[in-house]
Symmetry: C2
Subunit: 261 residues, 2 copies
């Protein structure tokens, strides 16, 4: 595999930083290539603004009303995005596997990683492409099709709270904006998240167990089956993008968008 | 009402900025008080780091391993947070209603608003409090109990795609990390989101209709019923934080955490 490991934690001595180092070592030992985007270490700019998409020059950045999506696409096509964005897009183009590794803050990635999605996955590059028949390529197809995506995250709570009937919501539902709305939307194959539970009070033994489990997940990743979300263009949705009435009739919730095992 | 309107859009000439101005005018006309946190205009710092929680001084910020949650609580209690964070916490303490207004990017708020949650809603202030009997106050109780929370957001897609069987996921499920994981978690009463659909191709008439609808929602807000999420301490969850087996037996997904109408 060619693995791009995107990491967002402010502390290099954290549990997560340690797990990243162990994961990268394992990948290297098994002959995989790796690149790392350590967002805090890079002082990654989190906030999407006009400077991202308008080449520097007197008066250019305030000249006209900023239309975010359209200008991201224009700047991408004209090769006028800021260099930090281009560097990330080159890494993505190189990779066949993207790992997103973060502590869960407010049930999602830290702002610095949210800003990576906002700024890097622009229209024309990651989505908004069309097939030969004019169909929009999305949800299973798109600019990042053919790549794997794996979330590695840590939470303070114990596992039952994130189970299908746990109070925090099923962890795959909590991560829906990433797994389905970002990975699958751009064509990537989302894998089952790797979650460290009880991270605030993990013993050394607990740490070792999670490190072992992570190494095992990474070794198995090339052959692993991703989550089986439904394709936009596979016939399961009608022209309004509503699930066809014969598919799990009356059922709702994120799980109906997965093909039943 | 005392309304704190938290706004995240880089363009003051945007549809969303216009809707905010119309909303604020309506609130004022009806005798409500308002404050605004316009995050882009304020150049809000999105990224939580050691500088937020460690008072400036030679060597202090790299001295010891950063334990994010614990140090946020320590700095809050010792009144040593950075001033931009304290200012937001004072506005929250003043308000009885929080409006979170943003264009939906990657199925969530822009990084600049995610960073507002990461940095402002710290342990000891917004959550992590205990009742007289020692119970953790969370999900319906907490530091922000008694306040309302309303999301106002815009999406490019049309409404059916965000309906309960739409391909993007039901909009309340997409916003679960905010509505349940942030608002309800800290004790706030989450209201049904106000969503502008088809925002990329809205006509002037469409804009007027949404502005009218927004004014109506804001006028009705003082008497409106919030979403009926289940309380952590109300008996619906067992000691592992799993939904009791007699509540919607076998059902899963975000909707099971709402009390049936």
């Amino acid at each position: 595999m060619k693995v791009l490991w995107i990491f967002a934690h402010p502390e290099q001595r954290s549990l997560n930083a340690s797990l990243m180092r162990e994961g990268l070592r394992e990948l290297t030992a098994y002959g995989h290539e790796t690149q790392v985007s350590d967002l805090y270490a890079m002082r990654w700019k989190a906030v999407l603004d006009a400077a991202d998409v308008r080449p520097a020059g007197p008066g250019t950045s305030d000249a006209a009303r900023l239309s975010v999506g359209a200008e991201q696409e224009r700047a991408y096509t004209a090769d006028e995005q800021s260099e930090d964005i281009r560097a990330e897009q080159r890494k993505i183009a190189w990779a066949d596997t993207l790992v997103f590794h973060f502590p869960m803050w407010w049930f999602g990635p830290p702002a610095i990683m949210k800003g990576w999605f906002d700024r890097v996955l622009v229209q024309g590059f990651a989505f908004g492409l069309r097939g030969p028949d004019g169909r929009i390529l999305r949800y299973g197809e798109g600019g990042l099709a053919g790549k794997r995506a794996l979330v590695i995250t840590s939470v303070g709570s114990r596992e039952p709270g994130f189970a299908p009937r746990g109070i925090h919501g099923y962890v795959n539902d909590v991560l829906w904006p990433l797994l389905h709305g970002t990975f699958w939307y751009t064509g990537m194959a989302p894998h089952r998240p790797f979650v460290v539970y009880g991270a605030d009070r993990l013993t050394d033994e607990g740490h070792r167990e999670y490190a072992d489990a992570l190494r095992e997940r990474l070794r198995a990743l090339p052959e692993a089956e991703p989550l089986a979300f439904r394709s936009e263009n596979g016939g399961d949705y009608d022209e309004t993008l509503t699930l066809q009435p014969w598919i799990e009739p009356g059922a709702t919730g994120p799980a109906v968008h997965e093909v039943c095992a």
